[in-house]
Amino acid sequence: MRTPPSPVMPRARTRGLVIERLADETLVYDRRRHRAHCLNPAATLVWACCDGRTTVAATAARLERALTLAPHETLVWAALDQLARARLLAEQPAAVAVPSRRELIRRLGLGAAAAVLLPVVESIVSPTAAQAASCFTATQCGTLSPGQCTGQPICGSTTDCCVQRGQRCSAKKC
């Protein structure tokens, strides 16, 4: 009896992304969604294999060689699941039930030290310039839209911050 062929990896998305390698990790900035992602070494390796040709089994084997992780296809599916959630794939991966991280650690018998090798995609929403401001005047605070007032201090005040009140931003005690 022949074993079914291993599924092929989906293609990675490249359009609208800024990609910067940092040692064995990858930083990715999504210009469309203004989200930044950090791919750890395992996720970086899996993403590099997302070319529409490499098989999942071959990717698992590469993970084993590069990171001395058990050659488990579940690891690859877990990485693909995270990459898809981060919208870093041009195609949706096959629908495969992916265990939770805790379950994965248990199934693979990993200790705490080895668990850091599991694929992780960490994401943030990039701040607007206003969100990175060090302070606002009370007048400026009043002109912000609700999502922009995140407790920045009011310039010259030692007690007041710019916070959301209902559908407006206004200065009040921090």
């Binding site: 910067e20 900035y29 060090s134 920045q152």
Partner: protein, 254 residues
């Protein structure tokens, strides 16, 4: 001129010029051209001839009103914060991060953090331990990932006096420093300093969170951060008293 940007400032009352100049970003120089990319106009108010009636102070950026107030200080604050943010976002060849920075030996310690996270207090404590003051507002990174000074006077929110080392007067020009240590922390009363090491990638994400031009120039931001972090260590954790962190930094334990 400030960080490659040509900015214009005009006022109806020359007596406020000194106050305006004090609020310009560090390192500004007079421009030789009359063409500017952004023009601030300050219209000074005050008492009118009519009894009990005062004119408002107004500040405009180009043709848009930025602030109006009976208090001159309010509009000066609006001018200062808008100008600082504009320069931070549009500076040519520099990436501005909201962060405190001190020099420690031949390296910089960068403390990225939101307002009210306690970074000025930590900067002050590091200065008392012998660090050199670079900034408590912005880390200014060049294309090689080195940190330049942005020496605005250190301001502590509880009104405490900053240490003498924070003085920005008569200071020799500070050399840019490579980043040696990144400390991502937030003050939490009673917390013990037990930081976790961050990988360069995760440190990069943390720093990007505080980069003013992250949306405008993401490619440059990532490139500069990658260079800045190429030989830096990074840690993250809540801190209690600033002295705990200073002790760890001074002892080489971060």
């Amino acid at each position: 001129m400030s960080y490659g940007l040509t900015l214009g400032i005009r006022t109806t009352d020359p007596r406020v010029l000194d106050a305006l100049v004090r609020r310009l970003p560090p390192g500004w120089t007079p421009a030789r051209t009359r063409r500017v990319e952004r023009l601030y106009s300050l219209i000074v108010g005050g008492p009118t001839g009519a009894r009990g009636i005062r004119r408002l102070n107004l500040v405009y950026v180009d043709e848009v009103r930025l602030a109006r107030s009976l208090e001159l200080d309010d509009v000066l604050h609006a001018f200062e914060s808008d100008l600082a943010l504009y320069v931070a976002e549009h500076a040519r060849g520099r990436l501005f991060l909201h962060a405190g920075v001190v020099g420690w030996g031949d390296r910089a310690i960068v403390i990225p953090g939101a307002s009210m996270s306690g970074k000025s207090r930590l900067v002050a404590a590091l200065l008392e331990a012998g660090a050199t003051y670079y900034s408590d507002e912005y880390a200014v990174l060049d294309g090689r990932g080195r940190v330049h000074a942005y020496p605005r006077p250190l301001s502590l929110r509880d009104g405490a006096s900053p240490p003498p080392a924070a003085s920005t007067r008569r200071r020799a020009r500070l050399a840019p420093l490579p980043v040696g240590l990144v400390v991502v922390t937030r003050y939490r009363a009673g917390a013990r300093w037990r930081p976790r090491a961050l990988s360069p990638g995760r440190a990069g994400i943390e720093m990007l969170t505080h980069a003013v031009a992250a949306r405008r120039r993401p490619a440059a931001a990532l490139r500069v951060l990658a260079r800045a972090l190429s030989s830096a260590r990074a840690f993250r954790g809540a801190r209690g008293e600033a002295a705990d962190v200073v002790g760890a930094v001074a002892g080489g334990r971060a």
